[in-house]
Structures are given as C-alpha cells and as structure tokens.
C-alpha cells in the first residue's frame, strides 16, 4: 500500500498525471473509488481484498476523460478492460499511467499497453468457480427450465441500468435502449422488455466482456446478470478462439469476416 501511495504521490507531484483513480475507505466498511488530484490526497489510497470495483469504468466518464492525463489503480480485470476499450479506439495510451495490482495485491510495473499485454499473458484468469458451476447447471437445463430460470431472475429488474453503468465496456453515449427511431426495445420494465434488454446487452458484449462481474455486482436486486455475458465469453472462446481484453489492437470478433468462418451464412 505504501508503494502504491508513493507512486501515486510521485505521479501527481511531477504532474505526470492530473488525477489518480483509486480505492479509498467508504462508509460502513465499504470501499469506494476516490480521485486524488493533489499529492497530499494520495494518503487516502488503499488496496485490499474489498477493492473489487473495476475502476476502468471511470476512464470513460465525461468529467474524468476531461482531466486528460490520469493514473489508474488497475487490477487484472481493469487492465483487461483497458486493453479492450483501447482496441475499440476509446483510450489514448499516452494519457494513461497504470498502477498495476497483481493477484497478490502488490504493485506491478506496467509501463504501457505492450507491457500490459505481456503481463496478462503470464496471468491465469478465467471465470470464477462458483459462477462456472451455475453456468454448467444452466447448460444442463432444458429449454423450458432455462426460460423459467431467467424469467424468475429477470422479472424484478426495473431497468435502473446499474449493470450497464458499472460496465467499462458499456460506454455508448446512446445505448440501444435509448435509440427510438426505430424503438428497439420497450422502455418500461415489463417481462418481455426485460428479456430483450438483457439478451441484447449480452449480444453487445459478446467478445468484449472480460468477466469482471461488475454488472452483477452493481445490480441492487442481486440479479446475476453477469452470467449472460459470461456465457457469451465462453461461446466466443469456443467458437472463435478469442479472449477479450488481452491485446490493445484486437479486431472485434463479431464484426470480423474470415473465409474460414464455420458459419455458412456468412460466405
């Protein structure tokens, strides 16, 4: 933690960055994102097991984007998000300083996107075991069982879009749910509309979701919405051999055309 604070302090003092996006103490034992912009505020930075929010989401936020050069405390999911959005031309490498955090909670030196790619190549990550177990359970269900599983899970959804807001890859200023010429999905939170919203979002994240689980964690109604995009991750991995968020210049899976694609409709 001292390493982290020192590095952050140096960065602000030397004006290498204007802000550090990091974790600090919140209320009632919670942690929260904090944004030190002065060297003395870096004392407030912390890192421990409670720090699970994927901070990369803030890189896409209007106010923070406009702070130009920024440092970010980046765990592995955050690093993957950074590479993913960079590959979608949403980030400038030279406006970003990474304060990498390894699985052991220690600071790692990540001097740029290339270094990040190399670092991630040495890391082991995948879908957490408990989520995997549910995915296998869903795989084993009949169509009807799946439908009723999701109907049950999705019916309370009130479309607060916390899942979307928490996701670093959901950065569109006008999400498809807000497009109304034509209207893609109903705005109100009704049964079918909820299905449409979540299935379409999952499609938009196919090949882009990096399994941070932030959407599910953000949901105030504890809807395990991350399972949908996780499933897409698995499918994209099996069908196209692609894992999101490993390279800063990776073409998007779903908009790439290859002659050897196994689906015939595309040829």
């Amino acid at each position: 933690m001292d390493d982290l604070r020192k590095k952050a302090k140096d960065l602000l003092e030397s004006q290498a960055v204007n802000v550090i996006i990091g974790y600090g103490e919140g209320t009632s034992g919670a942690v929260r994102a904090i944004f030190p912009r002065k060297a003395e505020e870096t004392d407030k930075l912390i890192y421990d097991d409670r720090c699970t929010q994927n901070l990369a989401v803030y890189l896409m936020k209007h106010e923070i984007k406009h702070m130009e050069k920024k440092g970010i405390v980046a765990t592995i999911p955050a690093m993957r998000s950074i590479l993913q959005v960079a590959s979608e031309y949403q980030l400038k490498e030279d406006e970003l300083v990474i304060l990498g955090i390894g699985p052991d909670g220690k600071l790692v030196d990540i001097p740029g996107f290339k270094a990040m790619e190399d670092y991630l190549a040495t890391q082991d990550f995948g879908i957490q075991e408990d989520d995997k177990a549910i995915l296998r359970k869903i795989d084993a269900m009949s169509m009807e069982e799946r439908w009723s599983f999701w109907k049950d899970e999705l019916s309370p959804c009130f479309k607060c879009y916390a899942c979307r807001a928490a996701c670093p890859m959901c950065y569109c200023t006008r999400c498809f749910v807000e497009v109304n010429t034509p209207q893609w999905i109903p705005i109100s939170a009704n049964e079918i509309g909820n299905f449409e919203w979540h299935l379409l979002r999952a499609m938009h994240l196919a090949g882009r979701c990096i399994n941070c689980g932030e959407c599910g964690r953000a949901c105030p109604l504890e809807i395990p919405i991350h399972l949908l995009t996780y499933k897409m991750t698995e499918d994209v991995q099996t069908d196209f051999g692609v894992t999101a968020g490993l390279k800063a210049d990776m073409p998007s899976v779903l908009s790439t055309y290859k002659l050897e694609d196994k689906e015939t409709f595309i040829r």
């Binding site: 109304n180 010429t181 034509p182 209207q183």
Partner: protein, 279 residues
C-alpha cells in the same frame, strides 16, 4: 376532485397540412368532438403535448392565435420518433393533443407600447401566435417591428404570412439569412440576427422585445438589446426544456426550482437572471 385522467388527450382531426420548409410542417387541427372544441380556450405562449398513437407524445407550442377561433395549429420540425410519425400524416388523419399548458405572454400589460419581435429558425411558431394575436388587436399597440432570420432562404417558415406582414403598412418586417444562405433573388438582409438587430436599431423607449430562437441566438441577442436600452423586464423569451408530462409531475423540465412547464415557458430576461441556467 381528481376524477379525471389528466393524461388523456383530445382527439384532433388534421384539416390542413402546410409544408413550411424542409422537414417543417404546420397542421391545422379541429377537435374531433365538437363539444370539446367549443369549451377549449387557450392563450398565446402556451404549449401542448401532441401525440401519434403508437409512437408517443412530443412537446411544442400552439402556433395559432387565440383570436382566430375554430381551430388550432402547430408547427413542428421532423426530428425524432414522434415528429417523424406526425410528418407522415396528412389531411383526414387524427392525432392526440393535451393542453393548453404553461403560462402566457402578458399581452394586456403591453397595451399602449411598441412591440419588437425577434425570432430565429424554427422558433417562429411561438412568436407567430403572439404576433397574430397582437396584429388582431393592432390599435392597442404603437409600432410593431418583426425581425426574423433563418440559416438559409429555404429555411424561413411561414412564407405566406411573411408576405402578408410585409404588405401591412403598419408592420416593419426585417428578414435575414445567415451569410451564405442567400439566393440570387434574395432581397432581405444577410447576416446573423444580432448583427441585423444592431443595424436596424429599433427604439427601446416604451417598447417590449420578444425573443425566440436557438440558445446561441438568444445569447448574442440579449447584449444587443441591452445596448439599445431595453431593460431586462421589457425583454421576453420562451424556454424549451425536454418535457414529458407538461404539468409539473414527470420531473424533467426544471431549471433549479423553476418548472418550465408550469412556471414557463414565457420568462422575462429579468426572471431568467434569477434562476440557474439549466436549459
């Protein structure tokens, strides 16, 4: 006394469609239910929620003058889901209308004074209502000056009425288009509204200025008016925020504690200075 569904529209028959400019149309509307039409009253400055069943509602002002009875009119630009649907309708089709909502231009308070109307682009509709209203009461006012500008000649709306106003001996009409927007036949001014205002320089003594237009035009027009000596309480404008309900409930239109749907849309410049600029 809440036995009425306040979101129920009146059903309106489209009597006449006028193409005003590219993507801009005017509908003349009559109440499908004559009884409702007879009881309906409104004042200039007020707005409504206009709807296409199946597409939703859209907010804009009533563009006709209350002095013209038997119908109401609206002018809209085709831009979103509802206005596109409206634009696809024609004579004989039906739409929904809720209103009238909002406050009004205090025309009675202006009796005995001169009037200066300044409008830009598609913002002429709220102005058209008040202009006709005042022209229909012509002897109550001194000089009437209208300055209207659009980006290009083709974007000027209400071409017939502009012609009519031009031919009225007791109306000073100045038309202008932005530089580059003129055609070879164009006989009006060329220049932005604030520039032309500065050039025309109407006298501010005993004169009320009514300004409607895009925020940027208003922003540059106010200082010119100030220079010409118009006091803040002699300058009126209308604000447009996103609206849904039109009646102070949906929470969408407020700027600070002021609800544009209820407290507006008509404000004096003096009032605007007292409220946060969330519009």
């Amino acid at each position: 006394m809440y036995k009425e569904n306040i979101y129920l529209p009146y059903l309106m028959n489209i009597e006449r469609v006028t193409e005003e400019a590219p993507f801009v149309k005017t509908f003349r509307l009559k109440f499908a239910n004559e009884e409702e039409g007879k009881q309906f009253t409104y004042k200039t400055g007020q707005f409504g929620e206009w709807s296409v069943f199946g597409e939703g509602e859209s907010t804009f002002c009533i563009a006709s003058a209350p002095t013209r009875e038997g119908y109401i009119e609206c002018t809209f630009r085709q831009a979103g889901r509802v206005t596109s649907a409206l634009a696809s309708l024609g004579e004989g089709d039906q739409i929904g209308f809720r209103g009238p909502y909002g406050n009004v231009f205090p025309i009675e308070e202006w009796y005995g004074k001169s009037l200066l109307f300044i409008a830009g682009g598609i913002a002429l509709p709220p102005m058209r209502s008040v202009i006709w209203n005042c022209l229909d009461l012509r002897d109550k006012f001194k000089d009437i000056t209208i300055l209207y500008g659009a980006r290009a000649v083709k974007d000027l709306v209400y071409k017939q009425e502009l012609e009519a106003w031009k031919n009225m001996p007791d109306v000073n009409l100045h038309l202008t288009v932005d530089p580059g927007g003129e055609t070879p036949e164009w006989k009006g001014e060329v220049g932005f509204v604030p520039t032309i205002l500065d050039k025309v320089a109407p006298a501010s003594k005993d004169c009320i200025a009514i300004v409607c237009g895009p925020p940027i035009m208003i922003k540059f027009t106010f200082p010119v008016l100030e220079k010409l000596g118009f006091a803040d309480n002699m300058v009126y404008t209308t604000l447009e925020n996103r609206m849904k309900c039109g009646i102070g409930k949906c929470g969408r239109c407020n700027t600070g504690s002021v609800y544009i749907c209820k407290d507006g849309p008509v404000f004096t410049r003096e009032q605007l200075k007292g409220i946060p600029a969330e519009y």
